[in-house]
């Protein structure tokens, strides 16, 4: 594995939470992009966490963000110098009803994408031990 991925693993271990570790496990093993939801007050959280940021309940369930989640493209750009998904790859903010705004790589080009267009999520592999998500035009 290249140094970038070795250090990414170390950094995730060092800065990770129980929720982020479970989030990455679900992406990699279950091939599912998930948020967390409070079973007491229904508040959704992303990035996920094991308590409710609205009512502090620790009764949390994992909910999948899927093609049925009605995601749309809120804003998008690219970056000339990034750690991943550098130009011409696109980085966006995606709006998902019941979840809100989340940052995500987006499949497509700066010329073709449009604010407001429908998107659906997919799981992508960074390397054999780590996966991430991106959104693709629906």
């Amino acid at each position: 594995m290249n140094p970038m991925e070795v250090f990414t693993g170390q950094a995730l271990e060092q800065f990770g939470s129980l929720a982020s570790k479970e989030f990455h496990r679900r992406l990699h093993e279950d091939r599912k992009l998930c948020a967390t939801q409070c079973q007491d007050c229904s508040e959704t959280a992303f990035p996920p966490r094991l308590h409710c940021p609205a009512c502090m309940s620790d009764s949390i369930s994992w909910v999948e963000i899927s093609a049925a989640s009605q995601a749309t493209l809120y804003a998008f750009t690219t970056q000339s110098r990034g750690l991943r998904f550098t130009a011409p790859e696109v980085i966006g903010v995606v709006e998902i009803p019941d979840v809100g705004l989340i940052i995500s790589p987006v499949a497509g080009t700066m010329a073709d994408l449009q604010i407001g267009q429908a998107l659906s999520p997919e799981v992508i592999d960074i390397h054999e031990g780590l996966s991430f998500y991106r959104f693709v035009p629906a």
Binding site: F15, S20, P53, A75, T77, G82, L83
Partner: protein, 395 residues
């Protein structure tokens, strides 16, 4: 609670790198601020600083190192960090200490050096950027591979154009105007006059943001002394009092899950709190320094602080209302895009500039008759903001 004044200020020019080692640069600005306050080192009884570097290797107990090197005995010794807001939060720590009677004259020093990334050693370079990004964006968003936050601001810029029908050229004018201001300021890093065409043909960083619409990564250091207002030395020049303070942090970090990326709750709430405490309205402000790190961000701040209507920032600027001869002079230093941006020190440089303006001590760039000033700083993408109102009294 004691009334507060900024009794002394000191600064060195913002440049690509510090000319002297960090400890020596801090001593230089500290000496200038203490002397400007009419004090001696023995009268300073608090030292409050920003971290030695905003990124890069940690410097453990920097504030204790600095206190020893300066030779100052204190009743308050503290280092405060929260990104771009650090220097104003450090100022608040000093304000609290003086207001509560713990300290009489608290010295605040803010500094930043460019991160010295070891590009000659590939592995340590990669480790540094990966660990910095993971700590900054958290263990979920880290994998999206953001380096600097420029793409996040770029999406705010794109949405601003989309929601308010403002063109790229209109936003580019903010860079041009701020460069006109910087051209008059000897401490500014970027002073060559530019045109809208220069801005729109400069290197694309994250569309729509181009190089001349982005704050630089710079080095600098500055200092102020916070004193009880009734203990500042008698002087012919006006005394600059801290009359309003506001601070508000939204629960989000970079992108609010629920909310807008073209208007910022923290800016509005902190601004309103500070103005209300001072008994002022935005229209009372003669001179302001705001933390506009990118072109559209600059204009959004004019709107959210109440200097003009929402969506009208570009027109307000184009009509000359934010410069000499207009309603208010905003960012007489040249702002973050032209003054240069040592993030750890930037907000205290804003204070230093407004204090000099309110004393009538800004030769060649004086805002005539300035008596009420405002400074703003933020962290994340405006997820948290600090606003101070300063006013000239007497003199």
């Amino acid at each position: 609670m004691h009334e507060l004044a900024i009794s002394g200020v000191g600064s060195i020019p913002v440049r690509r790198d510090l000319e002297a080692p960090l400890l020596d640069a801090c001593v230089q600005v500290a000496r200038e601020a203490i002397t400007d306050a009419g004090l001696g080192l023995a009268e300073v009884d608090g030292l409050f600083v920003t971290p030695a570097r905003m990124s890069g290797d940690p410097w453990l107990m920097f504030v204790a190192n600095l206190a020893e090197y300066l030779g100052v005995k204190t009743k308050g010794l503290q280092c405060v960090e929260n990104g771009g807001a650090s220097a104003l939060l450090t100022l608040r720590a000093a304000m609290d200490a003086v207001a509560m009677g713990r300290c009489r004259h608290a010295l605040v020093i803010a500094s930043d050096t460019r991160p010295m990334l070891d590009t000659n050693h590939f592995e340590s370079f990669v480790r540094n950027v990966v660990f910095t990004a993971t700590s900054l964006y958290g263990p979920v968003y880290a994998i999206a591979g953001l380096g600097t936050p420029i793409p996040i601001y770029a999406m705010s810029h794109q949405r601003y154009m989309h929601e308010y029908g403002v063109s790229e050229a209109e936003i580019a004018m903010s860079s041009v105007r701020l460069r006109e201001h910087a051209a008059m300021h000897p401490e500014a890093q970027f002073r060559d006059i530019i045109t809208v065409d220069d801005v729109l043909t400069s290197k694309k960083l994250s569309p729509p943001i181009r190089l001349l619409q982005a704050a630089s990564i710079s080095a600098g250091a500055c200092a102020v002394v916070v004193s009880r207002a009734d203990e500042t030395t008698a002087d012919k020049r006006p005394r600059v009092e801290l009359t309003g303070y506001g601070e508000h942090h939204h629960e989000s970090h970079f992108v609010p899950r629920q909310g807008s990326i073209t208007t910022f709750e923290s800016v509005k709430v902190a601004g309103q709190e500070a103005l209300a405490q001072a008994g002022r309205t935005p229209q009372d402000i003669d001179v302001a320094e705001v933390y506009g790190v990118f072109g559209a961000t600059e204009l959004i701040l004019y709107e959210d602080l109440g200097f003009c209507e929402k969506g009208h920032g570009a027109q307000f600027l184009a009509d000359g209302r934010s410069t000499w001869g207009g309603d208010i002079v905003i960012n007489p230093t040249g702002g973050r895009m032209s003054f240069g941006h040592p993030a750890g020190a930037t907000p205290l440089y804003e204070v230093v500039e407004v204090v000099r303006q309110l004393r009538g001590d800004a030769p060649g760039k004086q805002v005539d008759g300035a008596s009420v000033g405002l400074v703003h700083a933020e962290h994340g993408m405006m997820n948290g903001s600090v606003v101070c109102v300063l006013e000239a009294r007497g003199g």
